[in-house]
């Protein structure tokens, strides 16, 4: 289960990307959706206290992960993510059971040892900065890794993601300022996933901008708004933007329009929302129509992941909770 498998090597007839790639994207999208649905179910069954995650953003987040240069250190890409990024982690090859462990706040939770909410990934080995709950702080932090990469040379870049409502925080502006300094422009891909919501607040009353990406233009940052519900467009646009950042060593601002398929979080019920575009559903219709995958193949895939995740959830159920005295662990790093 560690790497998305390539189910079919024939060329897709009418698809706009290589068939193999379409299948691979679809595979991870399904896996990510199934993971999030499992997390929601865990919450509803009392196997976790809080859920927040990224169902509805898979079409964007999967290409992002597949296009990242995975690894540790300045030659690889850094990701400063928010809490809707599970699909990106899976696309990088992460085992989904880690997310279940965090949901159940077990001692085995690989991201926080049972300390943090679901969706708060951290994996230094892959340059995944720890997700922290305060909105938008990652935008103030990301220029730091980008600056180190700029000095280091090579083609490693920094990627930072966050939501649309959060761009009202000054940290989003700080990111634009620090990334575009003539003294030292940074190799950073600044991403906003725009689902048009901040919890219960709709974007239309709060955003004077026509597009959030317009804010980059003022800084002479190359900027674009894309349809994040289409994995083909997302792949192409991300590839182009990342190539630009990698080679030009300059910032790029991308706004991706996405959906929020289960509301904000468990605090708002975590129920499926019917009136949003479901990127997976649309993609599957397209794959079927184009003859890339059959309905049966796709259902088989979903069933397999559903079973795998159900098994993983059962496994996690019996894993130990952190011990009370463990609160004292890791306050300070100690000499190695």
């Amino acid at each position: 289960m560690s790497r998305p498998r390539l189910l079919n090597r024939e060329e897709a007839s009418s698809a706009t990307l290589d068939r193999e790639l379409l299948v691979r994207i679809h595979d991870v999208m399904v896996k990510a959706r199934v993971l999030e649905e499992r997390l929601i179910q865990m919450y509803k069954q009392g196997h976790g206290y809080f859920w927040i995650g990224g169902p509805g953003e898979e079409a964007f987040n999967v290409p992002l992960g597949l296009l990242m240069k995975k690894g540790q250190g300045l030659d690889s890409d850094y990701l400063h993510a928010h809490y809707r990024q599970s699909a990106t982690l899976l696309a990088l090859g992460e085992e989904p059971i880690g997310a279940l462990r965090q949901m159940k706040n077990t001692a085995t939770d690989p991201y926080s040892g049972g300390r943090n909410f679901a969706g708060h990934f951290s994996r230094r080995e892959w340059n995944i900065a720890p997700v922290s709950s305060p909105i938008e702080v990652q935008y103030a932090i990301a220029p730091g890794t980008a600056m180190a990469q700029k000095r280091h040379g090579g083609d490693g870049i920094t990627i930072v993601t966050g939501g649309d409502a959060g761009t009202a925080e000054g940290d989003f502006a700080s990111c634009l300022v620090w990334s575009s300094r003539p003294a030292n422009p940074l190799p950073i891909l600044i991403i906003v996933t725009n689902n048009k919501w901040g919890i219960s607040t709709t974007a239309d009353g709060q955003h004077g901008e026509t597009r959030i990406s317009d804010r980059g233009r003022a800084f002479n940052i190359r900027s674009k708004t894309i349809n994040g519900n289409d994995p083909v467009e997302a792949w192409r646009e991300l590839k182009e933007a990342m190539d630009y950042v990698r080679t030009e060593r300059k910032p790029f601002l991308m706004e991706a329009m996405v959906s929020r398929l289960y509301g904000h979080s468990s605090a708002s019920g975590a129920n499926f929302v019917a009136n949003e575009v479901d990127c997976l559903k649309e993609f599957e219709a397209k794959l079927e129509k184009d003859g890339v995958l059959t309905r049966e193949q796709m259902e088989a895939l979903r069933n397999r992941y559903t079973e795998e995740l159900a098994a993983a959830a059962r496994q996690v159920r019996d894993e130990p909770q952190p011990a009370p005295e463990s609160i004292w662990n890791h306050i300070y790093a100690e000499g190695k």
Binding site: G114, N116, P134, E136, I199, A267, I327
Partner: protein, 351 residues
């Protein structure tokens, strides 16, 4: 009886009707949600702000300058820490302008543990707030006090920090809020927003009456003469429970609800310690540079020779966060058993 969230909502309704409050705002404070804890549902003067705490506090300052008596909300105190400079400005504007400007404004924000909030929905704010001069700081432990303190806050000429113990927001009171209907189901029908589509819903407010809990006045919640325990917010009801347990064991503990953290009711606290000679301060903020340490200092400074035992503090462990797993949260902030034990020990302590 009303719970604390309903009490705050009713107080804000009273304030928008009678006290000149023109803006009740913050993230998700307005319709449709009416606040993540429902404390602002159905009010007339609410509106949703951008997701920008600095803008919220800044705008509150500006509105106060313009005499609008704003009530601004920071959704969780965990997210107030990028505004400390602005809070300091709000607190120093009157002084720095030598009395020229004053800022009648209220900042309300939920604090503390108790809802499995993990690292970022469990923060206390009492230590940080009490270190900022120029503010008045209140924190109710029951719905009636919540109502009375909010009414006082909305009549202040100065900035008031209104800390809401989130673990108590859904807890019902034991005393009726003046004007509250007898039947709590009726109250809920009248003022709680329905599930689902709320666009056509309007609350039916009961005929609320004014009621003041004066800022600066604490309250003796249990009388006793062997040991004093001073607390506020989430830990206050636990202190009461502990005192009741102790009483069964023959130990008489006096429980003081501080209610106002600044300026606090030192006369009340002092009189109690003079009587008992023993005092335990309880709060759940992390224990280093903690407001309880200030109270201990004052105690030692003024009452050293009257003490029968060292004053004690029971507070949150000095760790970087409150972990999500139950065991972590319970080990991080004072629980009932911790308080009971600490009181027993203090009552029994001999040199």
């Amino acid at each position: 009886m009303a719970n604390m969230a309903q009490a705050i909502r009713m107080a804000l309704h009273y304030a928008e009707e009678h006290l000149g409050v023109m803006d009740i705002f913050g993230e998700d404070v307005g319709p449709p949600l009416g606040g993540v804890f429902t404390a602002t549902q159905g009010l007339k003067r609410t509106w949703n702000s951008p997701l920008d705490e600095r803008g919220i506090i800044g705008t509150a300052i500006g509105l106060a300058m313009a005499g609008q008596r704003p009530v601004a909300e920071i959704q969780f105190a965990d997210y107030i820490y990028n505004t400390i400079d602005l809070l300091k400005i709000a607190g120093n504007t009157h002084w720095a302008s030598n009395g020229d400007w004053n800022l009648p404004m209220v900042v309300k924000t939920p604090v503390g543990s108790g809802i499995r909030g993990s690292i970022y929905h469990s923060h206390s704010f009492d230590a940080t707030a009490t270190h900022i001069p120029g503010w008045k700081i209140v924190m109710p432990s029951n719905p009636l006090d919540a109502y009375g303190l909010m009414l006082s806050a909305c009549q202040e000429l100065n900035p008031v920090m209104y800390l809401e113990p989130k673990a108590l927001l859904r807890v019902k009171g034991e005393e009726r809020i003046p004007g509250e209907p007898e039947d709590e189901r009726q109250l809920s029908k009248m003022i709680d927003a329905p599930l689902g589509d709320r666009s056509a819903w309007r609350p039916q407010w009961p005929a609320l009456e004014p009621y003041a809990v004066p800022i600066g006045k604490g309250k003796v919640v249990r009388e006793g003469d062997q040991v004093t325990v001073v607390s506020y917010g989430r830990t206050l009801p636990l202190c009461v429970k502990a005192a009741d347990t102790l009483r069964e064991q023959g130990v008489s503990a006096e429980v003081i609800d501080l209610r106002t953290l600044w300026p606090y009711d030192w006369d009340l606290v002092k009189a109690s310690i003079e009587k008992t000679g023993r005092v335990l301060y309880v709060n759940e903020d992390t224990e280093v540079t903690n407001f309880g340490e200030h109270l201990m200092r004052r105690t030692v400074e003024e009452l050293f020779y009257k003490l029968l035992a060292p004053p004690r503090l029971l507070a949150g462990k000095f760790v970087p966060g409150i972990g999500l797993a139950d065991a972590l949260e319970l080990a991080s902030v004072p629980q009932l058993a911790d308080i009971t034990q600490a009181l027993q020990k203090l009552a029994a302590e001999e040199p």
